[in-house]
């Protein structure tokens, strides 16, 4: 579709929170495409404005306060206005979105853009808000002084949109055709404090007589007095995040279960139709359909999480949360915004890693992506449950009422959290060296989220996930299927033993022995690469129980308890072994979907490889320590 344009294009520029995205939606209709800018992980929104004489491409550039870029996002905007983005000659019109309620600060970016001497229209946004605050703006006077068209708009109620479109049309009709040499070479030198001060003086001159803010009567009570209160603030924060977390778990469950049931039905249906026990049937049902099913199972989690994040962002609360958490997070060198992905990691690392887009600094984002999988995700729960029930159920409760099993569970979560913070500090200190970026955080006014815009961006994000991560997950599922299916055997447990996966398990045994594991656990670890909870059903097969589905299966538990290690003569699953295995599980990278998500977000296989390596090493060492020390102590 991009080839149809005669090279006419609009770039939307402006401060963050100035209403750029809303204006973008009004101009293009809710049909934007989200993609990545070439070579970077910053997102780009593109749409089409239909004018009477033809379509014009509209690009929403990341919001910035100044062309002196501090982050990857802002670099994109700088390159965009310089004409360095996009192929081929284009006739570019800049629309600078300026917030009428914060005109003074917003004009700083405009002064930089005016120096570019490129065609430009000012869209004076938030006019409805300005009227409510009884702010007066004389758009015509401003237009005279700035020597560019100034169009008041209010994207909320469509006011001014038609005038803006007229202004745009007028520009493209009268302008010269696309010129390949029209790239502006601008040199942005760092201004001195005096120069910045002079710019603000100029801004004040422009606004004198054209802009009036009434002296605000401070209302007796402002929302931030509670939201940022030293005691009430953190309490509210806990409630908000608790709610988010709870809904991630609770609301996604029924949807995921329905999805899994549907996939199961589909699979069974196919099995009836196809020749029984054939390779084709197995490939289609256990490989492809299972793979597609597992990808789709992530969709509710992603959708819910991004919906929540969207509400937090749009409403302005996310900035307040960042303010409250900054001190804590900066101690490990993380951005306050890393809190949302880390918390979401307790549900599932896949959407959590995608959620790191809220972190502006690239290094911080990478570190957060690397450590998020250490937060014990919900897929580890069935394994913890099985092992605790197997090995710890016979312990008498501590102090008469505290279940040992519950303590162990809590310990596993604690280990995950501690490891995440420790590794974050380590990475920030030794790998991603550099000064801790300062905090410059604007607290935007509280606003109601725009539901249609929000829904649209959630849907877009899901689509991108399916396209980029989903394909990788599906491919890996088929590979794993092959490992477990070939070479073929009659009985399920002989099949497991003889398959490539089983052989892999045997091969790994020497490495797993110091941790207290046997080859069956090894096979389980290979299988759980597809999804951690698969460990349980794989163990079921390994113990000759066929396809054991339920983790609470008493038969699996008793089978495991009775298993004796042929080499030591002792039970395989002593409490120490169970502990060692759980520690391994909590720290190891055993989820190919997570790796796929990391690859998608970082656009490189380097980082998933690093993730896999360091987590496996960490898991092995920790498990080793637990088992060896525990053995010496006589457990």
């Amino acid at each position: 579709m991009a080839n149809d344009y005669p090279g006419n294009r609009i770039l939307l520029v402006g401060n963050p929170n100035a209403g750029k995205t809303l204006l973008f939606n009004r101009l293009t209709g809710l049909k934007a495409k989200v993609a990545n800018y070439p070579g970077v992980t910053v997102e780009c929104r593109k749409g089409v404005l239909q004018l009477p004489r033809g379509p014009v491409e509209v690009v929403d550039l990341p919001g910035t306060y100044s062309l002196h870029a501090l982050s990857e996002d802002e670099e994109i905007t700088l390159r965009g206005v310089r004409g360095e983005l996009g192929a081929g000659p284009s006739h570019t019109l800049l629309i600078v979105v300026v917030d009428a309620t914060q005109l003074e600060r917003n004009l700083y970016l405009l002064t930089q853009l005016l120096e570019l001497k490129r065609p430009l229209i000012v869209a004076l946004s938030m006019m409805d808000m300005a009227r409510k605050k009884r702010i007066l703006v004389d758009a015509d006077l401003l237009s005279q002084r700035l020597k560019v068209p100034v169009v008041p708009v209010s994207a909320l109620n469509q006011e001014g949109i038609d005038e803006l479109k007229l202004s745009i049309e007028r520009h493209f009709l009268s302008a010269a055709p696309a010129d390949a040499t029209s790239e502006t070479k601008i040199h942005l030198s760092k201004p001195s404090p005096e120069e910045v001060a002079r710019t603000y003086k100029q801004i004040r001159l422009w606004l004198d007589g054209a802009y009036h803010r009434p002296r605000r009567l401070q209302p007796p009570f402002k929302a931030d007095d509670i939201v940022l209160h030293p005691v009430l603030g953190p309490i509210l924060l806990l409630l908000v995040f608790g709610l988010m977390f709870e809904s991630l778990f609770a609301w996604s469950k029924p949807v995921i279960e329905t999805l899994e049931d549907t996939v199961g039905l589909l699979g069974n249906g196919l099995r009836e139709v196809l020749p029984a026990h054939s390779l084709l049937s197995s490939l289609l049902v256990d490989g492809i359909i299972a793979g597609v099913g597992s990808v789709i199972a992530f969709v509710p989690l992603i959708a819910i999480l991004f919906f929540f994040i969207g509400i937090l962002e749009d409403s302005g609360y996310l900035a307040r949360a960042t303010f409250l958490l900054d001190r804590l997070m900066s101690k490990v060198g993380l951005s306050g915004r890393a809190f949302v992905p880390l918390l979401s990691g307790f549900a599932c690392a896949v959407p959590a890693i995608m959620a790191t887009r809220v972190i502006e600094s690239r290094k911080d984002r990478l570190v957060t992506i690397l450590v998020t999988p250490l937060m014990s995700c919900s897929a580890r729960l069935p394994v913890y449950g099985l092992l605790i029930a197997t090995a710890f159920s016979t312990f008498p409760p501590l102090l008469g009422f505290i279940e040992v099993g519950a303590l162990v569970m809590l310990a596993m979560y604690g280990i995950g959290i501690a490891a995440a913070f420790m590794m974050a500090a380590f990475f920030k200190r030794f790998v991603f060296k550099g000064p801790i970026p300062g905090l410059i955080l604007e607290l935007p006014p509280y606003r109601m989220p725009r539901w249609s815009s929000l829904t649209q961006s959630v849907l877009l994000r899901v689509r991108v996930f399916l396209r980029e991560a989903g394909t990788v997950i599906l491919a890996l599922t088929i590979v794993l299927w092959a490992l477990f299916t070939f070479p073929r055997a009659e009985e399920p447990d002989a099949q497991l033993r003889g398959s490539y996966a089983g052989q892999l398990g045997h091969l790994l045994e020497p490495a797993l022995e110091p941790l207290g594991f046997d080859w069956k656990i090894g096979v389980g670890l290979v299988a759980s690469f597809a999804a951690r909870e698969v460990m349980v059903s794989t163990l079921g097969v390994a113990y000759g129980l066929g396809q054991a589905g339920e983790e609470e299966s008493a038969s699996l538990r008793s089978a495991i308890q009775k298993d004796i290690n042929p080499k030591t003569g002792k039970p395989v699953y002593t409490p120490l072994v169970a502990l060692s295995l759980m520690v391994f599980f909590s720290l190891a990278m055993q989820c190919m979907s997570t790796l796929a998500a990391t690859r998608k977000e970082t656009k490189s296989w380097k980082w998933p490889a690093l993730q896999f390596s360091y987590m496996t090493l960490l898991a092995w060492l920790s498990s080793f320590a637990v088992f060896q020390i525990g053995s010496r102590l006589g457990f």
Binding site: L70, D326, G438, L443
Partner: protein, 92 residues
């Protein structure tokens, strides 16, 4: 920093760093301290320049960021960065 202040004959005696401005007091910004950190430029571009008025709305707990009002906007910055900016309280 306060010692430096007392020794500088060009700074009036009640100038103080923004990080030490009390809550609710309005002040006028003076020339900031020199620093090569990129954050200094950005903070100036957000309005922390000589002649502009600033007001502290709250201090974050346990050494957290400072919430200020500048150029009609709400901005938060860390104490370390707030120390660069000298201000002169306005007698109200």
């Amino acid at each position: 920093m306060n010692i430096k202040n007392k020794m500088d004959p060009f700074k009036p005696h009640d100038t103080l760093p923004l990080s030490e401005l009390s809550r609710g007091i309005r002040a006028i910004l003076q020339t900031p301290a020199r620093s090569t950190r990129p954050e200094l430029l950005r903070l100036m571009e957000m309005g922390l320049v000589e002649g502009n008025e600033v007001k502290v709305l709250r201090h974050g707990i346990w050494g957290g960021p400072i919430h200020i009002r500048i150029c009609g906007t709400n901005l938060c910055l860390r104490r370390e960065e707030a120390q660069w900016f000298w201000v002169q309280p306005v007698s109200s």
